[in-house]
Symmetry: C2
């Protein structure tokens, strides 16, 4: 970068001024954004407030070798929006806290912020506050999102009932395969002596974007609302389908049966799994970071659900004594396992 400026030249207040000066407020519920002890919001009468928060740490959740700062900012915001949509709500505001080590310049942080702002514009969310500090090592991003939902429209994880249909939006496993590809090319790049090393990304754009710049399924929430479908239970898929479905079943006190052949998988994901000699279904069940919606609807909503593009019915809810099962392509029924990612290992 040509213009690099140490953060110490501005100090904390100067940096905050610079980052927040071009913030626009889009929501009528945002009364006062950045600049006081608290942000002030006007809750919409008849609506509940939804709160979610997410922490992203360098070296644990992201690797700046291949993750552009703008994409990182975008993703950090979007994963929070996804949690609000997963309650059948609308994200309204975020606060952004950053810990920044000395190797980052003002231009770096502006790049990160531009991604956060882009996500906010796209999803109609206001940036209303935060905290900015030096850190000893690396970058950390802590975002809290405030959303709203009409009282009777909120969908929890615990409402699934026997015979409900299990639905998934989009496709699964792509973000995980994108990460494998990025990790491989990082290793290849390090071993390569070529000055102009070009990673082998051609034809893999979809899985890379799924990893680096995921979207939240605002469109699905809007479509469900327009068809007057209220899911009985819902959550977003961040740790993997298998783990999330078991959360819903545990909280709803039910079992489930899903069908391997019904799990939605993109062609690029399948190709990549073959190239890496990885089990495709395992990637789709446990890969994580899909940020798709997993939800259950009453059997009587079948006709309506079938009209929505990008929704796949993958199975149904059962009585708790049956457990959480997947029927494989060869007709066997095997128990689901929550192999979700464990950062503490």
């Amino acid at each position: 970068m040509s213009n690099e400026t140490e953060i110490a030249t501005l100090g904390e207040f100067g940096l905050i001024d610079r980052l927040t000066k071009c913030i626009k407020i889009n929501n009528s519920t945002t009364e006062k954004g950045v600049g006081d002890d608290c942000a002030v919001l006007s809750p919409t009468p008849g609506y509940k407030t939804l709160i979610t928060t997410d922490l992203l740490l360098e070296g644990i959740h992201f690797d700046l070798t291949y993750c552009p700062l703008k994409h990182l900012g975008y993703k950090a915001a979007v994963v929070n929006f996804s949690d609000v949509y997963a309650m059948n709500g609308i994200p309204r505001q975020i606060t952004v806290s950053l810990g920044i080590s000395k190797r980052f310049t003002i231009e770096h942080i502006e790049e990160l912020y531009s991604g956060i702002r882009l996500a906010c514009e796209k999803y109609g969310v206001d940036l209303v506050g935060g905290d900015t500090s030096a850190s000893v090592t690396g970058l950390l991003i802590s975002i809290t999102c405030i959303g709203e939902a009409e009282n009777e429209k909120i969908v929890y994880r615990n409402g699934a009932k026997d015979t409900d249909l299990i639905c998934v939006s989009g496709d699964l496993g792509a973000a995980y395969m994108g990460l494998q590809l990025l990790e491989r090319e990082k290793v290849v790049s390090k071993q390569s002596n070529e000055k102009n090393f070009k990673p082998a990304f051609e034809g893999k754009e979809y899985i890379l974007e799924r990893q680096l710049k995921p979207e939240a399924r605002k469109d699905i929430i809007e479509e469900l609302a327009s068809l007057s479908i209220k899911p009985t239970a819902m959550m977003d898929i961040s740790d993997g389908l298998s783990s999330e479905l078991m959360h819903i079943c545990k909280q709803s006190n039910t079992g489930c049966l899903i069908y391997e052949e019904r799990i939605p998988i993109d062609f690029q994901t399948a190709c990549m799994a073959e190239e890496f000699n990885l089990n495709l279904v395992t990637a789709a069940l446990n890969g994580g970071e899909d940020y798709e919606l997993l939800f259950t609807v009453k059997l009587s909503d079948y006709e309506k659900i079938a009209t929505i593009n990008n929704i796949r019915i993958i199975g149904h809810i059962t009585k708790p004594e049956y457990g959480c099962l997947m029927q494989t392509r060869d007709g066997n029924q095997i128990p689901l396992k929550a192999q979700g990612w464990n950062a503490f290992n």
Copy 2:
């Protein structure tokens, strides 16, 4: 500690279960706490929602050599409550995100959480969500607080007017002097060869508590309400009186005149400053971490304000062209400087 358990033995979900199992909900506005994609809150009709967030990083904001984890948890929560009181609001909920390196055990994190829970109980706040992750190095705590205030009772920083009285709760500079003492004893302890080294803390309990276990001025907010006083501007003193007062004057487009002799300083603070040969008034003006309330009231509220214990009138608001001044004990008027702490240097 006798029972030390690696966090990896529980994993993320196990740790969250263990930390959140004994959480009680105290507020009627908390509809759903930990356990879904979002927490769900019922805003009180006629009230605004207040949001504030604070990031604490090991090596930047705290030093575990002398800061007990329980105190740290307590302080991390309380500094957020302080921001809500500074808007004349009531804190209702917090979310807690933790980044935890490998040197911390489950027992350590339970200790930290016990401090957070204690603060929540004392101030009537509910812990409703968060995120927990491994970190590469050190401990980090990101807390967001959600509060409420009646529409017409919110106090911003920008409402101070010419002739308003400038008021401060409690006393200033003690937390800063406590920090100096802790830092000195840390050095002495390292140089000491004695096995049972005892830091020289006797008679210094007040300034140590101000640094390690500060309180938020809920009592002052309640007293102001009971006397029907609505400050014209208010903020909490986290970066130092001087810097905060200049924020109020800038945002209110006013000047100010405060009197050195009126700045409230505790006896222990004064003794410690003498021992360290530090300028006492500089410590009180710029020390920071006092978490006292700085506010302005109309001149006509003088009689009422004078009846409150623990409130000192330190000066008055002036026209903007006079600037921000302090009249010293010898009668000179000198400009205030915002020497607030800059973590980026």
